[in-house]
Amino acid sequence: MSTSFIRLDGQPYVEWWEDRFGLSPATFAGLCFYQRGRSTVWAGVPDVDDLTGARVEAVGIPLLRLGARFWKPTSIAIITFASMASRNVLDLDDQETRRFLAGSESCLEATDPRREDLASGFIVARHDGVAIGCGEWHHGTLYSCIPKGKRVESVDL
């Protein structure tokens, strides 16, 4: 049995996505949840307990990073699961999308109606109805949480 991936009860994580983003628990149906190390929760279909002796490096995709003060969704989990999110979603125009994918911030005007639906913390950044990654929303500014190695400068939209 793999010693590095520990099988978890997925309910707390499924509930977190439902609370924060309004995603139906059915979004995660059929998935197994694992923890590797202290902070990362993974979601994937296979049961690694059926792979006795395998040195496992990854199962499915990383879903959440567990911090002492908050949990942070990964951008790849948001892209994979969160296009249907109904809460804490920010729809970006072309210019904002380019800035977001390049790792830059965007400020929203105080009168921008999109601000009304956002609570401080992690949000789903969306473009043309498609989730494009994890953002962090504080005091009228959107910060991109796309990891440095995944950012794209001057992206073709």
């Binding site: 059929g30 994937g44 690694v48 006795t52 040195r55 490096e57 199962v59 699961f81």
Partner: protein, 334 residues
């Protein structure tokens, strides 16, 4: 380039049209992309076609969905200035013109398509994995073929994608994540010693490290011509095949493939390793031309079913060079 082409002279007797072969080896390769059916809902939304109300992780694409998604991708690439044509033997694949950086688009970032050399799409087609199966990709990095198999399995079952080299493992993991492959387990064993206690698999893909002669069109040279040549890798290939065979369940299918022309790395490896419990099956891919495998090389006779190895010479389909065999293990599935 001239020296490189001279090195290919040893295959003169195997090639039906030598001038066409040499001419093809001098030409650059087209860029090919394929649509990711696991992300079709996002592609349909971006194409303003309306999307089914399922999560992206559980999307299953029918043949007609793939055609629609491919059409949307072609339209989006054309709008960026990259016209394309469908690959006639592989639904969902496009040959894209004039695209220098196919990884600089939003669609690539979102995992809506993958970039892969056209002929390296073949092994997964021959493997033909099905939903719910247990499948092993023993030398998986950088993961294009893994992704094709995961899509065949509709993100169900268990697909173990193994590789030993750390930098290639990083690329493998990155591609699996970007493409949303939820049924993949990445492992990091030396393929020649992949643990038998993991149990047997319904299908095994063995796309072995090789001398890469078939990549001559990508680089203008043969990458490993100084590194022991075709014979230097045959030992590793044979050891990998021996291990892969033990990991294959009775009744299962193993696909062995290389991107090289050398019989020493293809038919001779199969002849050396495979026993009477193996049968190399005849192959026919609609729309793709191939020539038969060799059953004699340098005066040595090989097992007759080596005739069923598919040899893809670059001039046959305007691709890189390739060789592949689909091998069935005798016996009933457990």
């Amino acid at each position: 380039m001239t020296n490189t082409l001279e090195r290919l002279n040893r295959y003169r007797e195997l090639v039906d049209d030598w001038p066409a072969f040499i001419e093809a080896c001098r030409m650059p390769l087209p860029t090919v992309v394929w649509v990711n059916p696991l992300r079709q809902a996002a592609l349909l939304k971006l194409g303003k076609q309306g999307a089914p109300a399922t999560s992206a992780g559980t999307d299953c694409a029918s043949d007609s969905d793939i055609l629609i998604a491919t059409s949307i991708l072609a339209t989006r690439l054309e709008a960026l200035g990259y016209p394309s044509q469908p690959v006639n033997w592989y639904p969902g694949a496009l040959r894209v013109d004039d695209i220098d950086k196919p990884g600089k688009t939003l669609d690539f970032y979102l995992g809506l398509y993958h970039v892969q050399e056209e002929i390296s799409l073949l092994p997964a087609v021959l493997l033909a994995a099905e939903p719910g199966e247990r499948v092993l990709d023993l030398c998986a990095a950088p993961g294009g073929k893994t992704a094709q198999i995961a899509c065949q399995m509709e993100n169900t079952g268990t697909l173990v994608a193994n590789d030993i080299r750390p930098n290639r493992l990083r690329a493998l993991r990155s591609n699996c994540e970007r493409l949303g492959l939820l049924n993949v387990v990445v492992s990091s064993h030396d393929g020649t010693r992949f643990p038998l206690e993991v149990g047997q698999f319904d299908r095994v893909l063995l796309d072995v490290p090789c001398s890469c002669e078939g990549n001559v069109r990508q680089s203008g040279k043969i990458p490993f011509e100084q590194a022991g040549g075709v014979r230097g890798r045959a030992g590793l290939q044979a050891t990998l095949l021996g291990r892969a065979w033990k990991l294959l369940a009775p009744g299962g299918v193993l696909v062995y493939s290389t991107c090289t022309f050398a019989p020493e790395e293809n038919e001779l490896v199969l002849d050396y390793v495979l026993g009477e419990d193996a049968k190399i099956e005849p192959l026919e891919i609609e729309g793709l031309s191939s020539s038969a495998g060799v059953t004699e090389w340098n005066g040595r006779g090989l097992r007759p079913d080596c005739h069923n190895v598919a040899r893809i010479w670059p001039h046959l389909n305007d691709t890189g060079g390739f060789a592949a065999a689909r091998i069935r293990k005798r016996g009933e599935a457990p």
